[in-house]
């Protein structure tokens, strides 16, 4: 793995985004930024200094599987299957806003860092041609899982926010959580931010 200036600059840009997410979730629970940010930075440094890639990968996957809570949220939102089926075939492609949001969804799904990350991880694990099939299945399952998780978020938002007739402008994780809280209850709120 080559470490040079541009990668450093790019990584710093990414870190700032992620740390703003950490600060936002901390404030959701009433923790100040001056507490959550140093703790997150220290945890990151400990991981970099001590853990091997394989261990980091295992830990990260276990943490990432908490995202399965999205499915529980979607289930608890009681989506109307009839409406879902009707909407799925009713695509207002003539609408400019719809096309714009569709482009935003596509843009959010594909990230350049994913390409760099996965190739670096595979090179790091020194996978052989024999492992190709397993690595492909790893990718298939991951791709299906991530789209299902995002779909669960969409369903939860559609079932609660759209049907209640209340218009909410969503800009951050905190705002989504706040918008869903009165509808799903405190339990789901705790799950949602996990």
């Amino acid at each position: 793995v080559v470490v040079d200036g541009r990668l450093c600059a790019a990584a710093i840009g990414s870190l700032v985004t992620e740390f703003s997410g950490v600060a936002g979730i901390g404030e959701l629970y009433g923790l100040s930024r001056s507490l959550t940010l140093p703790v997150a930075a220290a945890a990151l440094l400990i991981v970099v200094a001590t853990a091997s890639y394989r261990r980091v990968e295992r830990i990260a996957i276990v943490i990432g599987l908490f995202e399965l809570a999205f499915f529980a949220v979607a289930w608890a939102a009681h989506p109307n299957l009839e409406t879902l089926a009707k909407d799925a075939v009713d695509l207002p492609l003539y609408n400019r806003d719809f096309r714009f949001l569709a482009a935003a969804v596509i843009g959010a799904v594909f990230n350049p860092w994913m390409i760099f990350y996965q190739q670096a991880a595979i090179a790091d694990k020194k996978l052989r041609p024999d492992d190709l099939k397993a690595a492909r299945w790893d990718t298939v399952v991951g791709a299906v899982l991530t789209q299902c998780l995002i779909g669960a978020v969409l369903i939860a938002a559609a079932a609660t926010l759209a049907s209640s007739g209340v218009w909410v402008n969503l800009g951050s994780i905190g705002e989504i959580s706040n918008a869903l809280t009165p509808l799903l209850g405190e339990v789901w709120d705790a799950w949602f931010s996990a």
Partner: protein, 263 residues
């Protein structure tokens, strides 16, 4: 035409490959069908444009991957069984003498698949490597393995039980996809749901194979070159393109710019 190097060259090399693997196909039985299908496939796909050709070949690979694995799971003469059988065959002499080499030492051949001469590989190795993949009905992989035969040969062939090997390989794809559900993606999906109800749900499903297509390319690049993406771009296209490719990292991954958002 970077993608051409992965799926292209099939027709030009097909004669050579057929000559190489013909006995194995006859032995496995299922290979005959795959071979016939592939001929028809190459006739059809060469007339299409490169991008269409690539997309079709990826879809075809996904289907064949699915069926091959279903066969293997069902206990039929699938790919996993063949790999285990192949592992029991006596290793050729040169593989024992070159086991010390690491993956870093054996990169993909500089001139592409075309420069590999059949004569440089011993008949034992070639039949072994082609058998296990030919059974899976995946001609692309057979060709890719031809291109990296010296790699396969140089590395020690460790006999691992297939499920354990699979578990140890899994990780990068799953992790990168879990990380893909980041703040920007979640906020965008919630906005889509709130604004258009379930109307954007079909789009998410359509994006599944696209996401696989993009990430699967990195799997092949990573396995067969053993190097990172940025390094390869810099080497192949130069420093300028490498800069441009990483510039995408710095873009703000939030949904602030969405329509009807407060800012």
């Amino acid at each position: 035409m970077a993608f051409r190097s992965f799926s292209g060259g099939r027709t030009s090399e097909s004669e050579e490959v057929q000559g190489d693997v013909a006995p194995d196909f006859a032995a496995t039985g299922t290979g005959q069908l795959a071979q016939r299908n592939d001929k028809a496939w190459s006739r059809f796909s060469t007339s299409a444009s490169p991008l269409v050709h690539y997309m079709l070949s990826v879809m075809r690979e996904m289907v064949s991957l699915f069926f091959a694995t279903t066969l293997a799971v069902a206990g039929d003469s699938g790919s996993i069984g063949s790999i285990e059988i192949a592992a029991h065959l006596p290793a050729p002499l040169e593989s024992r003498t070159q086991t010390g080499k690491s993956l870093g030492a054996c990169r993909a051949p500089s001139g592409g698949p075309g420069v590999i001469k059949p004569g440089t590989v011993s008949p034992t190795t070639s039949s072994r490597t082609t058998t296990c993949w030919a059974a899976a009905g995946e001609r692309d992989i057979v060709e890719e393995r031809k291109a990296t035969k010296h790699c396969v040969k140089a590395r020690p062939r460790i006999k691992i039980i297939a499920p354990l090997q699979w578990i140890s390989v899994w990780g990068p794809g799953l992790l990168v996809m879990l990380a893909d559900t980041d703040a920007g993606n979640v906020v965008t999906a919630a906005q889509a749901g709130a604004q258009w109800r379930y109307r954007l749900l079909p789009l998410l499903i359509v994006l599944m194979p696209m996401l696989y297509m993009v990430q699967e390319l990195t799997v092949r690049l990573g396995i067969y070159t053993g190097r990172g993406h940025g390094e390869l771009i810099r080497e192949r296209f130069g420093v300028g393109w490498a800069w441009l490719s990483t510039a995408g990292f710095a873009r703000q991954r939030s949904a602030r710019w969405l329509p009807n958002s407060p800012e």
